[in-house]
């Protein structure tokens, strides 16, 4: 009975087209994963095996590709770049969540003149592409003496993002107004209402925002390149791997792939553990490209 109902809900019965479509989909899914499988296999090859790529499996896994990368004879250990990435990404996530939740709370719950103008500006600013603001931002950070530090990657996150505000505001608006009133009668101030009543109810959208921020910051290339520049002590993992591909290891693509695996590994772990939140974050991120 249930299957009849299910069939009815989905339109037609299982037909030839359904089977063909499913096969195409599964082939597509393989094509989504294959490059990553290839990357992991390639990172365990010797240089010779890598360049003669007709064999997919390495004869003997070269784990020393990783040890070489993690503990180089000269230069900084790879862990340094990992920690830089974690620091920048982590602080940006905290900053974005804190500032956006506070600003969105005020815009959704407190009435004061001009708040519609602020919200309207946030909506419009989403359409202003980064290339227009990038150069002046660089010059402003230069004046502030922030170039070659992590500040330009972290501080702006604490100044809220238009996207985060718009995303969270809609969730705040679903919480009943009576809760604020009741708390006010008990003598709670706005900050208490925000931190004690609203934040616990907002856990799920806040995690969504944190994940979207992670995704953006962990993968970022352009801003770290511009703002950190040549100060290699502060490089994030992406910058280090870029250096591998252009610098001393130019002819060692297998080491580069090992670096790529290390960059993707935390993403895979997070992806598997927080998969439902990823799915939710895509569903709510309609405006984000």
């Amino acid at each position: 009975m249930a299957s009849i109902a299910a069939n009815k809900r989905n339109g037609t019965k299982i037909g030839v087209s359904t089977i063909i479509f499913t096969i195409i989909l599964l082939l597509g899914a393989i094509s989504m994963l294959l490059p990553f499988v290839w990357m992991i296999l390639a990172s365990l090859k010797t240089n010779g095996e890598f360049l003669n790529a007709f064999k997919w499996l390495p004869a003997a896994p070269q784990w020393e590709n990783y040890t070489r990368l993690l503990f180089p004879e000269k230069g900084h250990p790879f862990m340094l770049y990992f920690f830089n990435s974690v620091k920048v990404t982590g602080l940006a996530m905290i900053g974005t969540v804190l500032s956006c939740s506070l600003v969105a709370f005020a815009l959704a719950r407190i009435s004061f003149p001009g708040k519609n103008i602020v919200f309207g500006f946030a909506v419009i600013s989403i359409f202003l592409p980064s290339q227009v603001t990038m150069i002046p931002q660089f010059l402003i950070f230069k004046e502030l003496g922030w170039l070659g530090t992590h500040y330009p990657l972290i501080i702006p996150a604490f100044l809220a993002s238009a996207f985060g505000i718009i995303l969270l505001r809609q969730f705040y608006r679903t919480i009943p107004k009576e809760m604020d009133e009741a708390a006010k009668v008990d003598g709670a101030g706005w900050f208490t209402i925000y931190s004690r009543i609203h934040l616990p109810l907002m856990i799920s959208p806040l995690i969504t925002l944190a994940i979207l921020t992670f995704q953006e910051k962990w993968a970022e290339i352009l801003y770290p390149m511009i703002f950190i520049g040549k100060n290699s002590d502060l490089w994030t993992m992406v910058l280090k791997i870029r250096d591998l591909s252009t610098g001393q290891y130019n002819s060692r693509p297998e080491l580069e792939m090992a670096g790529n695996v290390l960059l993707v590994l935390p993403v895979i772990i997070l992806f598997i553990t927080a998969q439902p939140y990823f799915v939710k974050s895509i569903a709510t991120s309609g405006v984000k490209g």
């Binding site: 359904t18 599964l26 989504m32 490059p35 290339q131 990038m134 962990w218 290339i221 511009i226 992806f271």
Partner: protein, 299 residues
């Protein structure tokens, strides 16, 4: 009354971070950038107003013209494919729900979304090797059907920009597919049921029900794709410019980056930024203007 005044104060206090951010990161930079577009500004000395000189320079700049053409070429290939293919996949996904259920269906969606997450640096690097002539996997697979030795990403080759666009579609497929999938679930079943009574086939269902009903979502994907095509810095930098510093296959954003941060020509680079922004706006406006013709909104 006191209560109200203190509400105002708290409100302004809470939105302070964003107000500071909006001025520091958007309003002031946008104004500065507009002004710089009409100046000669090489960082070491303050900007000097030079009127329309930058525009004259731009029109005579062959490298700019190449980058400009490449950007349009890339967008014209990327946007239509990125709009159509994910829709087809989303429709196939909704069919496959009969065979792949519940958790498995969720994982299937998650797998498609996965390439969107890692940095373009990783994706780009991997695809450079996958698309390599002879030893690349793609050539190996085509090789099963006959000898193949295509230099997809060869410098200055005809295939480089289409190849880049297709890799971008591969990376963005899961995201767009997911947005479409949500849209498909909002189409009322009654439409499909009555179509079934009329005995329509899969293609007619797709053409006459799904496509018109999904058009508001399609419109959203078109807008998102246009903006990402014009801002595709990461991909073009990783897959083209990072390998060889030649300008023949550059994207406008890469050219802008080079002008601004290697040659420190901030005035000229600001003008490039505004030109690419204008292109994006014009295309978006055309799409907005045409939406009445093809986007079907629920009454």
């Amino acid at each position: 009354m006191r209560r109200k005044a203190s509400d105002y104060f708290t409100g302004y206090l809470f939105i302070m971070p964003y107000v500071i951010g909006a001025f520091m990161l958007f309003i002031i930079p946008a104004c500065m950038s507009l002004y710089y577009s009409f100046t000669r500004f090489k960082v070491i000395s303050p900007p000097m107003f030079n009127g329309l000189d930058n525009i004259r320079m731009l029109l005579a700049d062959q490298l700019f013209m190449t980058a400009f053409k490449n950007t349009w070429y890339y967008s014209l290939i990327y946007v239509p494919i990125q709009v159509v293919i994910p829709l087809v996949f989303a429709v196939m996904l909704s069919y496959s729900k009969k065979l792949i259920r519940g958790k498995w269906s969720e994982w299937l969606r998650a797998i498609y979304y996965f390439p969107a997450i890692p940095s373009w640096f990783v994706i780009g690097m991997v695809w450079i090797w996958l698309l390599a002539p002879e030893i690349g996997i793609v050539n190996q697979i085509i090789g099963w059907f006959g000898k193949s030795d295509i230099a997809f990403l060869g410098i200055g080759s005809d295939s480089i920009i289409p190849s880049l666009a297709l890799v971008a579609v591969w990376k963005g497929l899961g995201y767009a597919m997911f947005i479409y999938f949500i849209g498909l679930n909002n189409i009322p079943d009654s439409l499909y049921e009555s179509a079934e009574i009329d005995g329509v086939n899969v293609w007619q269902r797709f053409r006459n029900i799904t496509v018109p009903m999904i058009s508001p979502t399609t419109f959203l994907i078109v807008i998102i794709s246009i903006s990402s095509a014009f801002q595709a810095f990461d991909q073009h930098f990783t897959m083209v410019f990072n390998r060889y510093n030649k300008y023949s296959d550059t994207h406008l954003m890469v050219y802008l980056y080079e002008k601004a941060f290697r040659f420190m020509d901030m005035g000229y680079a600001s003008l490039i930024a505004w030109v690419s922004f204008l292109c994006m706006i014009i295309v978006t406006l055309i799409v907005l203007f045409l939406q009445k013709r093809w986007v079907h909104y629920e009454e």
